[in-house]
């Protein structure tokens, strides 16, 4: 029998027992629909995240941190370099000693890009300053290297004030994908501009609907930081007493006992303890506010999904003024200051103002991030790569999809049992027909194939129907999600995707399960004894 004969025969037999075939196919349709809709959710989420990463250029973005501080810088996602140089014998060097590193970088490109060699050389810790940025920019595959600072700020727009975060970036960063999705207005064009970009997330926070973000352009915002300083602490320690309290304090002193060394010792201890308490009190609680009034130049996409893009983007000058104003007291800022070798609260404008807590690299799309990462780490820095992170996310999605797929597979196994039942019933009804076919010359494999094609056809038709029904379910769910999100003024997002691989897998599994389910009935049909089957009852 040819394949065409087998297909025609299978279609004819299924058509004859329409109701039974329809019910069996329905079982497969439901199972495949469940399988498709569940995996479609996983695929949709993965695709959305991938598109988001792509649109923001995150696959070609890498963060660089000073060695040993990466884990503190990005919510614990930092990656320790293989040639870590934070061991005791590491030497911290001054910027003036960078010449040797430049020489190393320029005359030994191969060693920079060869982590195996880099591992064998002790690299000194170098500060993440403008010289380092120049070195980073020279690494093959790096299009742009620019520093950025994150700040915890308060933002006032008209009469609304809320807590937010800001990032100061140079205007050169606007050439990268991350800042390319302008929704309204434009980017500012000077590192000293008293302008800011805000995100759609900021607009929502400020109570502005997404369809009217244009109204924000040109408006003024006050970006302020509350800082504490050693000055305020010392002032409070020395002078934070009113006259009456000083009078009663002096009255309480026993001047005649000042000659007694034990009394003097107790008095000194008490006074120093009080001064220390007032110092700490002043350091932690006496805040000063420092504000920048800026004009909103543009609104950019982002800021709604995590903190990849900060709600407020500042010029380098504004950022520097706000960060130099003092220590905000936040844990993150404390680490930032310490990482840069600064004492929190110390005015750093005159000391190591050139040092940055992190640098962003915009990478060439064609260069593997691994080679750039190795080159950066060979220079003694730590890195965080979104591309690497995405690989980890994909692993999570793989397990997520497997779990969803297993649920769908349980339904498919049940549908498979339905196929077995239908086919066994069919054999009982068609015993004589099998006997006739054997008397006409059909061999065991012909009979087996006939039944396998029938069960395979049930699976194929069920799989095609299931894929369609699954798609309908995801469209329905997507519409409901859209409606809900728009009612909450949240921009719509696609939760489901039906990529070609999912269609092929769903069809393949539907066919595979049905053929497996048909194996036992087919084998039973092949064993029918023609003499018994043709016997006249």
């Amino acid at each position: 029998m040819t394949v065409a004969d087998l297909l025609q025969n299978a279609a004819g037999n299924l058509w004859r027992m329409k109701l039974r075939a329809l019910l069996t196919v329905s079982g497969v349709v439901i199972a495949i629909a469940a399988f498709v809709s569940m995996l479609s959710f996983g695929a949709g989420m993965q695709e959305t995240i991938s598109e988001r990463f792509e649109s923001l250029g995150l696959f070609t973005t890498m963060y660089v941190y000073p060695a040993g501080k990466g884990e503190e810088k990005f919510r614990g996602h930092g990656r320790r370099s293989e040639g870590d140089t934070t061991s005791e014998d590491s030497t911290r060097i001054d910027s003036t000693k960078i010449d040797s590193l430049q020489a190393y970088s320029s005359n030994a490109d191969s060693s920079v890009t060869d982590p195996a060699k880099a591992d064998t050389i002790q690299r000194p810790v170098i500060p993440l300053d403008s010289v380092a940025i120049e070195l980073l920019a020279k690494i093959p595959g790096v299009n742009l290297a620019y520093p950025h600072e994150n700040l915890s700020v308060k933002v006032t727009l008209a009469d609304t004030t809320f807590e937010s975060t800001a990032r100061a970036v140079p205007v050169s960063a606007f050439k990268t994908k991350m800042f390319s999705l302008i929704k309204a207005g434009a980017t500012f064009d000077s590192d000293t501009a008293r302008s800011a970009l805000v995100t759609e997330g900021f607009a929502l926070e400020a109570g502005v609907k997404l369809d009217s973000v244009k109204t924000l352009i040109g408006k003024s915002i006050i970006v302020s930081v509350e800082v504490i300083s050693l000055d305020s602490a010392i002032t409070r320690a020395l002078f934070n007493r009113n006259l009456d309290s000083l009078k009663s304090h002096f009255k309480g002193l026993r001047f005649d006992s000042l000659l007694d060394s034990e009394y003097r010792s107790q008095l000194l201890s008490r006074e120093l303890g009080g001064a220390l308490q007032r110092f700490l009190d002043g350091y932690l609680n006496s805040r000063e506010q420092f504000a920048e009034t800026l004009s909103i130049a543009g609104v950019i996409d982002g800021g709604r999904s995590g903190n990849l893009i900060r709600p407020v983007i500042l010029s380098v000058a504004s950022g520097r003024r706000l960060s130099d104003a003092g220590f905000s007291g936040s844990r993150q800022d404390m680490f930032t200051s310490l990482a840069s070798g600064r004492i929190p609260g110390m005015n750093t404008a005159s000391s190591s103002s050139e040092e940055y807590s992190r640098v962003t690299l915009d990478l060439d799309q064609g260069t593997p991030y691994e080679s750039i990462r190795d080159s950066v780490e060979a220079l003694g820095f730590e890195t965080f790569s979104f591309a690497e992170e995405f690989t980890e996310i994909q692993k999570v999605f793989l397990f997520f999809n497997l779990a969803l797929g297993m649920i769908g597979l349980i339904a498919l196994v049940t549908a498979g049992l339905g196929i077995v039942n239908t086919m066994v019933m069919s054999i009982l009804e068609r015993r004589r027909e099998i006997g006739v076919l054997k008397s006409l010359g059909a061999d065991d494999s012909d009979i087996k194939l006939m039944y396998l094609f029938e069960s395979g056809m049930i699976g194929s038709v069920g799989a095609i129907g299931g894929i369609f029904v699954g798609w309908l379910i995801t469209r329905g769910a997507s519409l409901v999600a859209d409606w809900y999100m728009s009612s909450k003024d949240i921009p719509s997002m696609e939760f489901f995707a039906l990529p070609i691989w999912l269609i092929l897998i769903a069809f393949g599994i539907g066919l595979f399960i049905s053929v497996i389910a048909g194996l036992y009935p087919a084998s039973r049909a092949a064993q029918v004894d023609p003499v018994q089957a043709l016997r006249n009852d």
């Binding site: 054997k438 008397s439 006409l440 010359g441 059909a442 061999d443 065991d444």
Partner: protein
């Protein structure tokens, strides 16, 4: 035992030697066929006659390769049939023999044409040729107007002619007919008998099982009588008259 073929062993195409077929029915062994020797020559029209349970249908099934003997051997053109693999046995049934049954055994959901075409599925006849051969055969048997009729829409005689067309469309060397007229009236019996004789004249060897002595006498060239699983007589047709 008298041999009615009148042919030398060299002429025999199909041979049964000491053929036995036993069945176990509960504690008892039933000897459906018990040491039968039979030679069938090319071009013969052999009628196996006997009462019910005499073993004639069992012998037919064994010769057709549908059943396997308990003892003895079957030789087809010098090759031992009972040693054939299942696949080779299928090929033997597909290419060398045709079978007709008392109850027609047509596939009820297929038309007359499709039923006849089915016989050509298994002997590698190309698909376009199948339809033509089936149509020609049905037309030859006077069923040109019944090609698209299903068995339920045909009379008993017509159904048996469709069954004959299905058996003969692949031009078998030998036709095994098991009570081909058992379910037919006199008129249809005569018609089927004439058809069988006509194909026999065209060179097809026929082995027909029947309990109708008159039918055997009217169309067979040799009559083998069986009883209790053994051949009791083997005579040329007309010898008893």
């Amino acid at each position: 035992m008298e041999t009615g073929s009148g042919l030398t062993p060299d002429d025999s195409w199909l041979q049964a030697v000491g053929l036995s077929r036993y069945y176990i029915r509960g504690p008892q062994e039933v000897r459906a066929l018990d040491g039968v020797d039979l030679d069938v020559s090319r071009g013969e029209f052999l009628a196996l006659v006997g009462s019910s349970g005499s073993g004639k249908s069992t012998l037919l099934n064994l010769l057709a390769g549908l059943d396997t003997p308990t003892a003895g051997k079957i030789l087809v053109d010098g090759e031992q049939l009972d040693t054939f693999s299942r696949k080779r046995l299928s090929r033997y049934r597909a290419r060398q023999i045709g079978m007709v049954f008392q109850s027609f055994n047509l596939i009820s959901h297929k038309t007359a044409l499709e039923n006849v075409e089915t016989a050509l599925y298994f002997n590698d006849t190309p698909k376009p040729e199948r339809r033509k051969l089936a149509t020609d055969m049905l037309t030859h048997l006077g069923l040109a107007e019944r090609l698209d009729h299903r068995p339920a829409d045909l009379s008993g005689g017509e159904q048996q002619r469709v069954a004959l067309a299905r058996a003969l469309v692949k031009r078998p060397q030998i036709l095994f007919a098991d009570e081909p007229t058992g379910n037919l009236d006199r008129e249809n019996t005569i018609q089927i008998a004439e058809t069988l004789k006509s194909f026999n004249r065209d060179g097809i060897t026929i082995v027909m099982v029947t309990h109708d002595g008159d039918l055997a006498e009217s169309c067979a060239t040799r009559i083998v009588r069986m009883d209790y699983g053994k051949i009791v007589s083997d005579t040329p047709a007309g010898a008893g008259k």
